[in-house]
């Protein structure tokens, strides 16, 4: 995988992860072009497209587009499921994730992605193991600055942010929870 972009329906970039060294200018150009291309596509269209010499795999979850660029020999369908697995991870971690979670906790979104993918390759595809790793990191951090937890707000992202919930375009990302009971057992 060469890069992954998360952007909203309005074209706002929410997360960018590059696995190839490119200049800022080039990154901006690519992002602009791709966001336009993907947003222009209609819902029933296929999730893959050829772009420059790369293959783009994208999927929309509620208000967010997840978009990956892979190389010629890479497998499109499995990339689609990489996206889905990442969404599942976010969903499990934040508990019914929404775009706001990713905005306010963008660093967490990055950490989760890093546990899952490394250098553009799937490092650990077991949901259980990724979440375990993140949990451990969280524990580490709580032990160190437990005091800071006092500041941590409630679950409600809007409230946590001190903002007014009603004026924020909140759309929960609807994803299918996995059928296997073992998943929820792990994370509850």
């Amino acid at each position: 995988m060469q890069f992954m972009l998360l952007f909203s329906r309005q074209g706002k970039l929410r997360l960018q992860k590059w696995y190839v060294p490119l200049s800022d200018k080039e990154k901006k150009k690519i992002t602009r072009e791709l966001v336009q291309t993907v947003l222009a596509r209609k819902p029933k269209m296929c999730s893959f497209l050829e772009w420059r010499d790369l293959k783009i795999v994208y999927k929309r979850y509620a208000s967010l587009y997840f978009c990956c660029a892979i190389e010629d020999q890479d497998n499109e369908l499995i990339t689609l499921e990489i996206i889905h697995r990442y969404v599942e991870l976010l969903d499990k971690y934040f508990g019914s994730v929404c775009e706001l979670d990713i905005i306010f906790n963008f660093e967490k979104a990055y950490f989760i992605l890093d546990e899952f993918l490394l250098g553009g390759e799937a490092q650990e595809t077991s949901k259980k193991n990724v979440l375990k790793a993140i949990e451990q990191a969280d524990l580490l951090q709580e032990n160190i600055d437990f005091q800071m937890r006092l500041f941590a707000g409630s679950r409600d992202p809007a409230q946590r942010a001190g903002g007014n919930r009603t004026d924020i375009n909140t759309i929960f990302i609807a994803i299918h929870t996995p059928p296997s009971a073992s998943y929820s057992a792990v994370c509850s």
Partner: protein, 935 residues
């Protein structure tokens, strides 16, 4: 999972993000951001030392601002400081900042690398993982330079934890992809492969608790895809037992596709099909098991009718590779009807929604086309063209034109097809397409009458495309006489029909029509007066366009003063065009090239006559055969056709180009192109020879042989037939027995259109191909250089410099020559030194090489100039004075270069062999300096 623990308490950050989101306008947002930037800047600059938490918070804010799309020009240092924090979260944020905002600032890179180095050495698995993640995610050259040698150590160390090993492995993979030259894979490969056995960490952990790796009822889909992909790096296993086991596995995967799904979730089917497509890719890659190929083809056929757009798209894509693969083309063909039907359905039912799927469908139709189904497929494509998306029309037009030409048995069908193309999608018919139809009509007597009749009928339409007027004008001008017997298409009727279009056309088309008129005067004396009247009218003779005016004047004069005989000679029927590769094919290749750039040829299609089109029309008349720069297709077509002589001279024309490289075109004439790809290891070489048939007719009785006096060359037999437009590959295995100076010669014989063709090409196998580069420290180099001081151990040569000196080009040349380029060995940084070992079966000979550019010195009259002594040259000890410690003279166009080679060959060749090596450096002086080579 309780959500409360998630926030790590950067309240200030949350407030800031919330503020930004509450901004009502872009201006307000920018104002808020600027305020925050000023605040952070003052905090960073302040006297009070910030604690880790604050530093982390501000760095995080900067990161957020950057992600909003604003530039960040400070804070890097604070982020780097976070790397050395003992607190995990601070370190983590530091790494995040660095991997998102990589800065090539060299001071910082050093600091960053230091931080990473410390963490790698920390033995703390979480810290090590952070460091490895950072290296892999940045993956830049600088990172590779700093850590490529360190990571394999982490990977194979016995006490490294599994999770760290996993990261290290992927990290190494990443670096190996971006900077393969820096990763010392050679020495580590065996140890890494060893790891695969028990270490494939995913495998081991999966066996403990496979359930974790079951994804929507599909067992370990990621691992399966990876392994199937890995197998595609190898040829089919030769061992029969292994082979049958693999076939069994692949069959199981194909069988599973037929089982009812275990879940209705799309994730289930995606994961399952991801594995299936990878298995099919492997089957296609092996291309050896007919049953598997047929099954794969059937499976894809099923997907073609699937309701999931994604599956249809991928099925079309795989089917394309399946159809273009030589062996499985037949397999695909047996299912042709199903596929075409499925395709029709897919075009009709789903296709209209998604242009990328339709594009794939057209690709597939094109790939599966052959003589047996060409008419059907071309008809499909033509009918689809009427409703096709604008973005792919031009490509479809090109494809139809190519298929119609390639598979035409009956050329009346070809003419109909192209005229249909123009009728349906005239705007998308590029010049190449209509040039081509004219070339074909002119070259085939049997179709000329039909073509004239058909264009005449097509021109009757009240509104016809300008491209049709062009084709019509040209064909009636040449062959109108063939239909003039019919009173419905008498000369006058033909002329009036053409002239009725005249005023609606652009200048280039009008120019072409004027040429058609003068041809009419020659063909039909009875309309001479009418046409002269037209030419004489003010709108022609005083036309504002110079080209049109000139034609009108000249043609009018020609028709008035020339006798019938002269007129008949000047306007004689066009001679047949020489056979050559279809220019449409070239255009399609260009169009499908990487990047899919928009067509650069727009200028040629511009409506008002550019210089280009003027040239092409003059040339249609063959009045001005001088080729111009920027020559376009027709000029190319009219260039002198030197029939390929029955050549027995050995072609060496391209030979020197291969001195420093291994791939390229070694020979090309109007019929045949020979390309080479070669690789060498020690004293063995393998050369892939590609014979490309540039014509549209078969080469028969094709044979090739290699004659070599010194080398062992073993060539695999080739197929005696090369189809028109096809390419054939031949493999040559080469062994260097001992040193040699004569390159082998490739002799080719084949029949083309009844004539026997003989071609002999000198193959670029030179002694330097058997170089293995040798790295060497400065001290070693000096020492060896001095040991090789005897006069018979050295050769040197003077080059004439024809090109300005370019360091990068010179470096590439030396590396291409085969030796290792040694940096920092020569005290004079402008010089290049290299070292390598020539491997032959009987012996190995080490060589040292030195090139001395001299940018300043200039001798007006080159080669005899006595070289001056360069005191900075430390290698002169024990050598006769004249050629060491010497500066060569070269500068730009006038200067001369000077090559020296040093060598004692074990045999008695002595200087000769070494000189041969020197002479391999291209005489055109791309490397225009002194070369010294000691052996």
């Amino acid at each position: 999972m309780p959500a409360v623990s998630k926030g790590d308490g950067m309240r200030g950050l949350a407030v800031f993000i919330s503020d930004i989101r509450n901004c009502k306008s872009k201006e307000a947002e920018i104002k808020r951001i600027n305020k925050e930037l000023a605040n952070i800047r003052s905090k960073f600059k302040g006297d009070k030392a910030l604690d880790g938490y604050s530093k982390k918070k501000y760095v995080c804010k900067l990161l957020f601002i950057f992600l909003l799309g604003h530039d960040i020009d400070f804070g890097h240092m604070e982020a780097v400081n976070l790397l050395s924090s003992n607190k995990y979260t601070e370190k983590q944020i530091g790494y995040l900042f660095i991997s998102v905002l990589v800065n090539s600032n060299s001071d910082l890179i050093r600091l960053i690398n230091n931080g990473i180095k410390n963490d790698l050495a920390s033995r703390n698995p979480t810290f090590m993982n952070l460091a490895l993640h950072c290296i892999a995610n940045v993956g830049s050259r600088e990172m590779a330079e700093a850590f490529a040698s360190e990571i394999p150590r982490v990977l194979v160390a016995g006490d490294t934890m599994d999770s760290v090993k996993q990261s290290a492995a992927l990290c190494l993979l990443r670096l190996n992809r971006t900077s393969p030259d820096l990763v010392p894979m050679g020495e580590w490969t065996t140890r890494v492969v060893h790891l695969l056995n028990d270490q494939h960490l995913i495998v081991t952990s999966a066996s403990i608790d496979l359930q974790d790796y079951t994804y929507y009822f599909v067992a370990a889909p990621w691992l399966s895809v990876k392994l199937l992909r890995l197998l595609q790096c190898y040829p089919p296993p030769e061992d029969a037992a292994l082979r049958s086991r693999l076939t069994e596995c692949l069959e199981t995967i194909l069988n599973k596709a037929q089982e009812p799904p275990k879940s209705k979730k799309v994730q289930h089917s995606n994961a399952k099909n991801a594995v299936l497509f990878e298995a099919i890719a492997l089957i296609i890659h092996h291309d050896s098991e007919p049953t598997l190929l047929v099954r794969a083809c059937n499976q894809l056929g099923q997907f073609l009718q699937h309701r999931e757009t994604n599956l249809r798209y991928l099925a079309l894509e795989s089917m394309c590779t399946l159809a273009s693969s030589e062996f499985s083309h037949e397999a695909v063909k047996t299912h042709m009807e199903t596929v075409i039907n499925a395709l029709k359905v897919s075009l009709a039912q789903f296709g209209s929604r998604d242009v990328s799927v339709r594009q794939r469908a057209v690709d597939l139709l094109y790939a599966m086309c052959d003589r047996s189904n060409a008419k059907q497929i071309v008809a499909e494509m033509l009918s689809y063209l009427e409703t096709a998306d604008y973005s792919i029309r031009e490509e479809i037009v090109l494809k139809v034109a190519i298929l119609a030409e390639k598979y035409a048995v009956d050329y009346t069908w070809y003419v109909d097809t192209i005229l249909n193309l123009i009728r349906i999608a005239g705007d998308y018919v590029s010049e190449e397409v209509w040039y081509r139809v004219i070339q074909i009509v002119i070259n085939r007597d049997d179709v000329q009458g039909y073509a004239a009749k058909t264009v005449f009928e097509a021109l009757q339409a009240p509104a016809c495309h300008e491209n049709l007027v062009k084709v019509g004008g040209y064909i009636l001008g040449e062959f109108g006489n063939l239909i003039a017997g019919d009173s419905r298409s008498s000369p006058l009727v033909q002329f009036n029909l053409l002239h009725s279009k005249f005023h609606l056309c652009s200048v280039p088309t009008r120019a072409l029509l004027l040429s058609a008129y003068i041809k009419f005067i020659n063909l039909f004396p009875e309309v001479k007066a009418t046409i002269q009247d037209v030419l004489r009218s003010d709108s022609q003779l005083r036309n504002a366009d110079v080209e049109l005016q000139q034609r009108a004047v000249e043609y009018l004069r020609l028709s008035c003063i020339a006798s019938t005989d002269i007129l008949a000679t000047v306007l004689e029927e066009m001679p047949p065009f020489p056979e050559r590769e279809s220019s449409i094919l070239a255009k399609l290749k260009k169009k499908k090239g990487p990047g899919k750039l928009p067509d650069m040829d727009d200028s040629r299609r511009s409506v008002n006559g550019s210089t280009d089109s003027t040239h092409s029309f003059t040339d249609v008349l063959n009045l001005n055969p001088a080729p111009s720069s920027g020559a376009n297709l027709l000029i190319d077509v009219f260039s002198e056709s030197s029939a390929p002589a029955a050549a027995t001279d050995v072609s060496e024309e391209n030979f020197p180009r291969f001195v420093c490289k291994n791939n390229g075109v070694i020979y090309e004439n109007q019929l045949l192109q020979i390309g080479l790809k070669s690789e060498y290891r020690q004293n063995l070489g393998r050369m892939y020879v590609f014979y490309g048939n540039k014509t549209s007719t078969q080469f028969l009785s094709f044979s090739s042989s290699v004659s070599s006096s010194d080398l062992n060359v073993h060539s695999k037999a080739v197929d005696p037939v090369i189809e028109g437009g096809a390419q054939m590959q031949q493999i040559l295995n080469i062994e260097c027995v001992s040193d040699f100076s004569d390159a082998p010669v490739l002799n080719i014989q084949f029949r083309y259109g009844g004539a026997l063709q003989n071609i002999a090409v000198k193959l670029p196998v030179m002694l330097n191909k058997f170089f293995q580069p040798t790295e060497m420290m400065s001290q070693d180099f000096f020492q060896r250089w001095k040991q090789l001081g005897a006069p018979q151990q050295e050769v040197q040569k003077i080059f004439k410099a024809k090109h300005p000196m370019d360091t990068e080009v010179a470096k590439a040349k030396i590396l291409g020559f085969g030796v290792a380029l040694l940096d920092g060995v020569d005290p004079n940084p402008a010089n290049f030194v290299g070292a390598g070992v020539v491997h032959t079966k009987t012996t190995q000979v080490g060589c040292l090489l030195r090139l001395e550019p001299n940018m300043q010195a200039q001798t007006p009259n080159g080669n005899a100039a006595p070289p001056a002594t360069d005191p900075s040259f430390p290698f002169g000890a024990g050598l006769p004075g004249s050629h060491l410690g010497i500066c060569s003279r070269c500068r730009g166009e006038q200067g001369d270069g000077f090559v020296g080679l040093k060598g004692t060959w074990p045999k008695s060749h002595e200087l000769k062999v070494a000189f041969d090596l020197a002479s391999f450096l291209p005489p055109d002086g791309r490397v225009c300096e002194r070369l010294l080579l000691r052996t």
